[in-house]
């Protein structure tokens, strides 16, 4: 109940950010009881409150929230007519509500799992199935392994080279120099402070593409380990994502303050959103990494397909050109390319110093949660075939 009210208010807040609170508040308050009651009723009808397995929980939550939001919209329209009803706010409300309910249920399931631990003394290996809750719990238990795997990769990467970590800075510098020359002198892209703009997109893109490339080897290159030690396999791709994330954060920490100083950009409130969008990108990247890591165990072609897909995606993502330069009709397509919402958000908050628009929020949230859920589901359902595939 509280969740529903909070989501609804938050949705209106996002939709009408910038406009005066007084304008929409009366509408929000007037329609709120209907929306909340409809959503609650639908949750009850779909049995979201009952105990169940992970997958059916996802289905039921989606069904309940979609149904609830649709019913709410219909009721609001029927009772109040068209005035003051914001479709965008309703859809944002649906998204927030779904996330909140899913998070709440997952937390509750995890808690129950913890309580139930040790209840039955014996487990049946034949009936054992990896569950999302169980995997998360054992990931927490194996956090030392995640840390060590990340440290191992960092050490291996930099040990024995004279410049060490500096190499990770050289690559973006060279890329930015090349693209800057090409786009300011050859193609004449009219963007003030193009280097800063380019840097934000390029670093964010490099994080994704490095993580995706590396994750294809996460499972198949650890054959021996998979055949002799039992641990949650999802650790391997997740550790590669955290490894590339570490490098990304280190380069951001070096470059972004330098750029802010160089272009005399004052810090502004939207920049506080950076961790939120980075978190979403990490979730999205983990989902993609899980899919690629498990998929490569079945089809080695994925490695080669990924290479091609990445080079196409690079140009479909507004990295070397601003989204505003894209033709109106093409803009939704560019924004819907999977990495775009995160890149656009970084550019918005650092370069344009604005709050990211609602569409970026919606697409970003949808991709990160969608890929994360799809990746986890796929990986967990394939997990015990992986050792036999190698």
């Amino acid at each position: 109940m509280t969740i529903a009210i909070a989501c609804y208010l938050l949705a209106y807040r996002i939709r009408f950010s910038g406009e005066a609170l007084q304008v929409f508040l009366p509408y929000a308050v007037r329609t709120m009881p209907i929306v909340v009651i409809a959503q609650m009723a639908m949750l009850f009808v779909c049995g979201v409150y009952a105990a169940m397995t992970t997958w059916s929980a996802v289905q039921r939550i989606l069904g309940a929230t979609i149904g609830g939001s649709l019913a709410a919209s219909a009721l609001v329209w029927w009772i109040h007519g068209d005035t003051g009803v914001s479709r965008a706010a309703l859809s944002a409300d649906w998204l927030l509500f779904t996330c909140a309910i899913a998070g709440w249920r997952a937390g509750q399931a995890l808690w129950q799992q913890r309580q139930a631990d040790g209840a039955p003394l014996m487990i049946d290996r034949a009936a054992e199935r990896p569950t999302l809750g169980g995997t998360i719990a054992s990931l927490v238990q194996h956090r030392e392994l995640v840390r060590n795997l990340v440290m191992k990769d960092l050490k291996l990467k930099y040990r024995g080279s004279v410049l060490g970590f500096m190499w990770s800075l050289v690559n973006p510098i060279v890329m930015i120099t090349v693209y800057s020359i090409a786009f300011t002198y050859v193609i004449h892209t009219p963007v003030e402070g193009f280097v800063f703009f380019l840097l934000l997109g390029l670093l964010g893109w490099n994080f994704f593409s490095a993580a995706a490339t590396m994750s294809t080897g996460a499972i198949i290159d650890s054959g021996n380990l998979m055949k002799s030690v039992a641990f949650p396999r999802a650790i391997l791709p997740i550790a590669t994502v955290i490894f590339t994330l570490t490098q990304y954060v280190l380069t951001v920490v070096v470059f972004v303050p330098v750029m802010l100083l160089l272009y005399r950009v004052a810090p502004s409130p939207p920049m506080l959103l950076y961790p939120v969008f980075l978190g979403l990108q990490v979730l999205f990247t983990i989902g993609v990494a899980l899919i690629l890591a498990a998929g490569t165990a079945f089809f080695r072609d994925i490695r080669h397909l990924l290479e091609i897909a990445l080079s196409a995606l690079f140009w479909l993502t507004p990295i070397v050109y601003p989204l505003s330069q894209v033709h109106e009709k093409l803009r939704p397509i560019i924004l819907l390319s999977p990495v775009s919402p995160f890149i656009v958000a970084y550019q918005q908050i650092f370069f344009y110093r604005q709050w990211p628009p609602l569409t970026v929020w919606v697409v970003g949230l949808a991709y990160s949660l969608g890929f994360f859920l799809l990746g986890s589901w796929l990986f967990l359902s394939l997990e015990d075939q992986l050792a036999e595939q190698l």
Binding site: R159, N224, F299, R300
Partner: protein, 261 residues
């Protein structure tokens, strides 16, 4: 005696894939040429195996190559899922596996770094590793080499470090698969002493081996597997005699081989 491992009509089927490239190419060509298609063949590594192992028992498992010994061990370890039957293991017990020594070692990392990486693969925290680290180093006898990258180790040193780590993980159930066979006599003696010590401390041991002497030294009970079926379960001396007769009897092996084919 409280049971810790219960197998009921346990079976495991593997799918053997001939002509498998792991590539879409194979699937694509398979559409046109029957002989290029991936051929799948079922292989039953275990068939209807039932046994109950009690707390503190040391059980040896013998059998020819391909008889399903390692598969049974991997099922208990949770590396593969059984195809049929039930296999109960305690939820809370720590199951230690010695299937291959030094797996997950990395040549570029030093001995010390490898120890910390390896223990964390088995789920230990940093503090837990700190506590056993001196014992691991002392046991392996590699005090002077812990800061040297593992690529400079001899294969014997490699193995000693691997066993030292495995020996200090302190599991409740220890699953051992033929890991000592590769070492020299001195190494094997050290390993056998350690395993005997485990047994003395009341740990449950599941010991897969080709060596009757090693099994006799550690176990009082033995399981004999042949083509995935459990042929004998009982006293170690009788079991090893049974196994010796099985190996000596050409009729049984050829009979079994035709039955399998």
């Amino acid at each position: 005696m409280e049971p810790v491992i219960v197998a009921e009509h346990l079976s495991k089927r593997f799918i053997l894939r001939h002509n498998r490239d792991g590539e879409l190419k194979v699937r694509f060509l398979g559409l046109f040429h029957a002989h290029k298609r991936e051929r799948r063949e079922e292989f039953w590594a275990l068939r209807d195996v039932s046994a109950t192992i009690g707390h503190g028992e040391a059980v040896g498992v013998v059998g020819r190559n391909g008889s399903g010994k390692s598969t049974l061990l991997k099922l208990i370890a949770g590396l593969h899922r059984p195809t049929g039957g039930r296999l109960l293991v305690p939820r809370a017990a720590r199951i230690g596996t010695m299937i291959e020594l030094g797996v997950g070692f990395h040549g570029q990392l030093t001995g010390q770094e490898n120890v910390y990486l390896n223990t964390s693969i088995h789920g230990l925290t940093r503090a837990e590793t700190d506590a056993i680290y001196p014992a691991i180093v002392a046991y392996s006898g590699l005090e002077h080499f812990m800061d040297v990258p593992l690529k400079n180790y001899s294969s014997g040193m490699h193995m000693r470090l691997g066993f030292a780590i495995a020996a200090h993980l302190d599991p409740d159930i220890l699953l051992i698969d033929e890991v000592f066979a590769v070492g020299d006599a001195e190494f094997q003696r050290q390993c056998m002493r350690t395993v005997a010590e485990f047994r003395g401390r009341g740990k449950t041991i599941f010991f897969v081996s080709h060596s009757p002497e090693a099994v006799r030294l550690i176990c009082r009970r033995v399981l004999v597997l042949e083509h995935g079926e459990l042929l004998f379960d009982g006293n170690v001396d009788e079991g090893l005699d049974f196994y010796a007769r099985l190996l000596a009897d050409p009729a049984s092996s050829s009979h079994a081989a035709t039955a399998h084919a």
